[in-house]
């Protein structure tokens, strides 16, 4: 296997889960649309890998590509709510699983009501990405991210509470 392909394969295996989850957040949990977006993201990773200059961590760079790809592609995709991808959760505990699905569905729906920048910030926060890295991905100052996260957290929590 050529070194370039080998490097790409490693990146793909390591970063696929987090890219997929981020994309799911952008498309209201629609797994099929998210998979299309993930493919688009990794096509761009492949095409631009040679230009990556280690100015940031590779994970940050991949997050940037994901956020930018989702921003551009969303206008072209029809977004619905895919429950099939959530139905697999907790099959052995039907009642709890049902509640969990409802909460998750609501969470996706509330995330979808945010503007794309807020969506990007909160999805990265939900993923547990440090605020400094979120700032580097979104092109905002650390302070601006801190303030915005605080506001979005409140808005999101209120939205989920109101809808339940």
């Amino acid at each position: 296997m050529r070194p370039y392909q080998e490097q790409f394969e490693k990146l793909y295996q390591v970063h696929y889960p987090k890219v997929m989850r981020l994309c799911m957040g952008y498309v209201k949990g629609d797994a099929d649309l998210a998979k299309d977006l993930v493919q688009e993201v990794f096509i761009k990773v492949w095409k631009n890998l040679e230009m990556f200059r280690n100015e940031s961590a590779i994970g940050t760079w991949i997050y940037r590509i994901t956020v930018n790809t989702c921003l551009v592609q969303l206008r072209n995709k029809r977004i619905g709510l895919d429950t099939a991808s959530m139905d697999q959760i907790g099959e052995s505990e039907p009642v709890e699983a049902y509640d969990y699905q409802q909460h998750l569905r609501q969470l996706y729906s509330c995330i979808d009501s945010l503007d794309p920048t807020a969506k990007g910030i909160i999805l990265l926060e939900l993923e547990g990405v440090p605020q400094k890295e979120i700032a580097a991905v979104m092109g905002l100052s650390h302070e601006a991210v801190r303030v915005r996260i605080h506001r979005i957290k409140n808005k999101l929590t209120k939205c989920v509470q109101d809808e339940l």
Binding site: Q39, M51, D115, M138, G139, T157
Partner: protein, 184 residues
Amino acid sequence: MNFEDLKSQWKKQPKAEAPENGAKSIAKKINTMRKKQLITNMVLGATLLILIGFFFYIMAYRDQTVLWGLVTMMGALLGRIVIEIYSVRRLGKLNIGLDARQFKNRMTAYYQKRKGIHYILTPLILLAYCGGFVRLLPAFKAHLSGGFYTYIVVSSVVLIVFFSIFIGYHVRKELAILKTLKET
């Protein structure tokens, strides 16, 4: 319920594993895209060569009306192709690895420029193409049978209407992207 509960719900989602041959299928898809691009370039090149060949074959340069009619139509077509190739390359060269704010600004600038193309250049190109075609009509009428002449007129009008709708659809799509970018 507080944000930490939402975060824990988010984290409880099953981990999406990378498909086994996912990386290979992406490499394959990129190869297919490259081949398609090559085929498109070859088709465009061949079309241009055929048009130039046709131009000399019918000795269009001997009749001033036919000459300018054809030159205007070919020029309009070529102009449109050059603009599209330039735009596609410019979009492809945008650094997707920039932070979201810089990327959004560059995308907005790109689509703003495209808006200028759509509102000024595209109508001019379409007008030039139609003008060239109208200029050719007397020559068509003089050299072609009545039935074939009618066929050419009707099919060209249908084709121009079809392309106008097609271009209009894509312009609307790009304007919607620009609107989203500006609202963000």
